[in-house]
Amino acid sequence: MRVLAPLAFLVLLAAAVAVPGLFTAVDPLAADPAAALAPPGGAHWLGSDHLGRDVLARVVYGARHSISIGVAATGLAVTAGVLLGLAAGLSPRWLDEALARSFDTLSTLPELLLALLVVAIAGPGTGSVIFAIAVAQVPTYARVVRAQTFVVRRSGYVEQAVTFGRSRAAIVAGHVLPNVLGAIPVLATIGLGTAVIATSGLSFLGMGPQPPAAEWGSMLSEARNYLRVAWWQALFPGAAITLTVICLTVTGRRMQRRFEGRTP
């Protein structure tokens, strides 16, 4: 039970992202001023917000924005991180040194401030948020892949492939790349959790998907003006973010334990 709960929640979440209609028949954007700020129960299971929109429908449809931004940002960061890390690990010393220093520089800037800089340049919106979070997370993956590349390139099987006269490109693609990717799924699972938090933070600040789109962070931002009268408007999107990140972190850490327990 304890083992399956986080995974089960993540599967439900994936279903909500793919087919939100499964969980609610209500339009998340349908406003009904007459039913504004209705408490949970009756027509609105989780209550309604200040415009009379259904909170349940908005939380369900909000998964689509929050999760897909997180997944896109993580995917972009992993791709760029693996390529840059691999490039650094295989480059001559000076280039490697320069790349490693630029990863260091990037990670001295707090993720959120870096994201604000990106948004200031590119303007608010989904694309900016994805790019901003990805830029901030690239160093995490690049560093791990770089370190692993150093190990793999000195390994016996790479040496053997060289003796067999295989081309450099074939060795990198066939032997180095698959063997430096080992830790990436674990890091990416935990990183997705971080990305979901960052997405909600940026949306909370009004940098993400623009209203009336339902997104967990921007729902919280709207809800904060009605805290005194409508706790449900803040509670449910907040709980959705927290549960998602807890499940991702727990799953990631379990994978990590299994990964580290494996004898090399």
Binding site: R101, S102, D104, T105, L106, S107, T108, L109, P110, E111, L112, L113, L114, L116, L117, V119, A120, I121, A122, G193, I197, S200, G201, F204, L205, G206, M207, G217, L220, A223, R224, L227, R228, W231, A234, G238, I241, T242, V245, I246, T249, V250
Partner: protein, 301 residues
């Protein structure tokens, strides 16, 4: 030592250069931004270009920019035409107050968590790691929202927004400090438990030291080491979280300034805040590296 300082300087230079490149890459013509809603004639444009030196080659502009930074000149705001340094100067103190209070709260709570739960068996371990899991998984602004609705709206103990008086600092500092306390507490606790199993702990106990004296005089020093290496994460979380916390609690500060600048496309201001936080980050991590040498004499050898 000197190597460490040089590395810090190199990182700062790279950050400044990255910020400059970001400015160059920004869409929209700088002259257009500077003209803004004001009268737009070729003469005014020419005047702006001459005044800001926009007609010089990029390399010269870049070197001039680095030179200005070295003299502490952060440039001028597009929006208000005032010096960025002047705009930021008045906002540093509220943000420093908030982050220092949050850091103190976080460290103090972490210490309490670690001292209360270390070496007390399975249940306390489970409780401490649950606290850690929740604190890395809850977005910091959600902590703030919960605190606001309980202590300001329901109980009415603290003001809802603003920065008037020390009581206005309590909730923001807690909101920013709690997530740190969870993670730090867990790390400190693990360190303490490991230290208490070391041979030196057995020796100290054999010498008749009480458990409390053992922790205070010997184990804590060992437990602090992994905490020091977390300092980077700690600083970043505080600086980034300060932006959201200031917006949520309506406090003045660098975060508010940065937010307004982002909304208004005022890049020199945004960049200055980012650079300032990079300076703080590099300074703190350099200082802590030095602290590491003091705490752990083995590193010096």
């Amino acid at each position: 030592m000197i190597r460490r300082l040089l590395a810090g300087v190199a990182v700062m230079w790279a950050a400044a250069t990255a910020a400059y490149l970001a400015l160059l890459l920004a869409p929209g013509d700088t002259v257009d931004i500077l003209v803004g809603d004001g009268p737009d004639t070729p003469e005014i444009r020419a005047g702006i270009i001459a005044e800001w030196g926009l007609d010089r080659p990029e390399v010269v502009q870049y070197l001039a920019y680095l030179g200005r930074l070295l003299r502490g000149d952060l440039g001028r705001s597009y929006q208000s035409q005032r010096g960025v340094g002047e705009i930021l100067a008045g906002q540093v103190w509220p943000t420093a107050q908030l982050t220092l209070a949050a850091a103190a709260t976080g460290v103090a709570l972490a210490g309490v968590i670690a001292l209360v739960t270390a070496g007390r068996g399975r249940w306390s371990r489970t409780a401490a790691s649950a606290a850690e899991l929740v604190s890395v998984s809850v977005p910091p602004f959600l902590v703030g929202i919960v605190l606001l609705s309980v202590f300001s709206f329901t109980l009415g103990w603290f003001p809802v927004s603003g920065a008037a008086g020390p009581e206005a600092l309590v909730l923001p500092a807690l909101a920013l400090g709690l997530p740190i306390a969870g993670v730090l507490g867990q790390v400190l606790r693990d360190g303490l438990e490991r230290a208490l199993e070391q041979p030196f702990a057995v020796t100290a106990r054999a010498r008749g030291l009480t458990e409390r004296a053992l922790v205070a005089r010997h184990a804590l020093r060992h437990a602090l080491l992994p905490v020091v290496t977390l300092a980077g994460w700690f600083t970043g979380t505080l600086l980034g979280g300060a932006v959201i916390t200031e917006v949520l609690f309506g406090r003045p500060g660098l975060g508010q300034v940065a937010m307004q600048a982002v909304t208004g496309g005022d890049l020199p201001v945004v960049m200055a805040v980012v650079l300032l936080s990079a300076v703080v980050y590099v300074t703190i991590s350099t200082l802590l590296d030095l602290a590491y040498r003091v705490i752990d004499p083995r590193v010096r050898a």
